[in-house]
């Protein structure tokens, strides 16, 4: 959370998970705080607050970004997807299912960011190598030491349909 002795208001308008959102906010509010505290989209997490860990990863205009490093006013007229908006239904995306199948989640705090980074990679490259996955995820830190299973989940996300038949 950032503070300013002389707060000023801004009429913010943006798309979040496909819906138009209009709110009056203080200009010094971070996008992360806007999503969590104003819109109650608490799937986006805060850990380091300085762009190192990737727990606050969201997709803005098609690119993964750290929402802790962006002011909400910078997202004016932008299009945001958070982990809550990844699918339009209660069902999991293929990649989310793959995280479940590979037991990739321990405490879970890094997972929304990991999933969004993984989704963007798979969008460009449906069969990434393990090295490509590690490169893409280098801005997402897991402190439960669960990287292997996270990489497994992304590597095999495209096989999820086939795996379903064996369940």
């Amino acid at each position: 959370m950032l503070h300013h002795p002389k707060p000023d208001l801004f009429q913010l308008s943006l798309k979040v998970n496909g819906k138009l959102v209009e709110r009056e906010i203080v200009t010094h509010m971070r996008l992360l705080d806007f999503l969590r505290n104003e819109l109650l989209l608490t799937g986006t997490k805060e850990v380091c607050g300085e762009g190192e860990c990737g727990a606050c990863t969201i997709i803005m205009d098609g690119q993964t970004v750290n929402s802790c490093l962006i002011l909400a006013v910078e997202a004016h007229n932008r299009n945001i997807t958070t982990i809550e908006g990844l699918t339009n239904t209660q069902e999991l995306s293929k990649l989310q299912q793959s995280f479940e199948d590979h037991h990739s989640v321990q405490c879970g705090y890094c997972i929304p960011g990991m999933v969004l980074s993984g989704e963007k990679l798979l969008e460009r490259n449906s069969h990434p190598t393990r090295d490509e996955i590690k490169y893409e995820l280098s801005g997402n830190i897991c402190r439960c030491t669960g990287y292997h299973k996270i990489v497994d989940a992304i590597e095999h996300a495209s096989d999820v349909d086939a795996a379903d038949e064996h369940r």
């Binding site: 200009t27 762009g51 990737g54 970004v65 490093l69 004016h76 801005g139």
Partner: protein, 274 residues
Amino acid sequence: MKYYSPDSLDAYFKLRSKLAGKDVAVLAGGTDLMPRYERGLSMPDHLIDLKSLSKLSSILVSDDYIEIGALTSIQDLHDHAVIQAEFTAIHQAAHEFAGTQIRHRATTGGNLCNASPAGDLLPGLYAFEAILELTNADGQRTLPISDFILGPGKTALSDGELLTAIRIPRDHWDSKFIKVGLRQSMAISVINIALVYHHLEASFTHLKIATGAVAPTVITLDEFCQAYQLNPSNLLQHIQLIDNAISPIDDIRATANYRRTVLKNLIRDFLTNG
């Protein structure tokens, strides 16, 4: 805090003159500024977001130069075909730059204006002899990068002046970027090196080496390169010239001695083994 996002340079300079003498900060990608606010740096009364100056985020290619708009993101710089083909060291530095989310936001001009001794784009820009275009309300001037960065966090920008573009001559040199960090990604460099060169059989017809995090600013090892080009067989003797050129310090990432040793070894290795 008043927030502004002017959409033209004209509007920007009008705003700057209106806010003259006030507490103003400019924001580009925010990947360096926002963590400072997080750590307690007080936010300005007036924040000017540059990202609506969309003219500054394109890369133009002419026969002699590539011109990188100051707001070009590290990711766009990395992905550009001419950067990949002709400026390998810069492409490699962009590839190893932080992590994906940061590369999407951080800007080329921001990396220059922060003037960090360890900034990963800087050695490549020094070794390719980049020229910077600075703009203020009255017009433009150009400066070689080595005259732009004056010290850690200090640049030649005057009040209200903007870094608008980075021009690099298309000399078709080969090049290479080497980063030593404590971890592959998201790590500030212990040292970084850019080598720009041209081989003719066994000898170098062009050799320019720039290195970061071994002095308050990036250093070009011109004396060493000249000596080596004149007499390549005396490499071990010339390598001492590197020691004279740099002034590394001990910090949390490495000792000064480590930096000296690793730098000399990496350069020796490159010149002997390619």
